[in-house]
């Protein structure tokens, strides 16, 4: 696998959407090719950052009460 092929699979790899075989080929390329490795590390960091920043928000407790009232007449 070359650098171009590897970077075409960037997000599929980070999202765990590839077959084990392709995943293994990419892992091999990343350990042989530091620039690709750094790029993938950066993108992984970005996705982790995105998740961490967006998951804090949950439904307000009043909304849950409203829904329970509506559904079950509580």
């Amino acid at each position: 696998m070359n650098c171009r092929e590897c970077s075409e699979h960037l997000y599929e790899y980070l999202d765990r959407e590839l077959t084990p075989q392709v995943e293994q080929e990419i892992r091999q390329h990343l350990s042989d090719c530091p620039p690709c490795g750094e790029h993938f590390d950066f993108e992984r960091l970005f996705l982790d950052f995105l998740r961490a920043r967006c998951r804090a928000e949950g439904a307000p407790p009043e909304l849950k009460r409203r829904i329970l009232r509506e559904l079950f007449d509580e």
């Binding site: 997000y11 599929e12 999202d15 959407e17 750094e38 790029h39 590390d41 950066f42 993108e43 960091l45 970005f46 996705l47 950052f49 995105l50 998740r51 920043r53 967006c54 998951r55 804090a56 928000e57 949950g58 439904a59 307000p60 909304l63 849950k64 409203r66 829904i67 509506e70 559904l71 079950f72």
Partner: protein, 203 residues
Amino acid sequence: MGYSMASTPPPAPTPTPAADAEKRASFEREALVHLDSLYRVALRLTGNAAEADDLVQETMLKAYRAWHQYEKGTNAKGWLLTILRHAFINEYRRRTRHPETVDLDAIEPFSVFEELQDDDPQGTFFDRIVDDEVLRAIDELPEQFRETVVLSDVEGLSYEEIARVLEVPVGTVKSRLFRARRMLQGKLYDYAVGMGYIKGNAT
């Protein structure tokens, strides 16, 4: 391919106290547990808390009425998100935001990683960007990118699950996700340069 309602829906079970109790228990167990996810997606779709509340409430109501059509033990989250998205498209979108049509080819995938090579190759500037700024950047994305990135990066759905909720091919999910993430990176990079967190390359 989508999480649609069955074309010939099974008849609703005859209501008896025992059947009602069982329906309620299974709805609480399989549907209500996804309330936070539905709320987060609703908030990003509508852009405001009051509309998100109404959209989620309506989604839960529709889901409860159609609960006998949901195949228990399958993907309740995907099923609920599909109901939510349909409700949004039919009843909220025209009141809140306008659907944008996006020319995919017109978006130049900007590589922040390459921009950062001299300045911050490890992307440490991300640590200084607060939640609100990230959510604002997501809210500025065109709708089809916004919903894709929220389902993937916020709610953790697989490509296949996203494709079913959005009723598009998996290849479309991939290309939207790629562009949405690059657009987000570009926005957050510009913000970080504006705040002085990184120097930015004069172009």
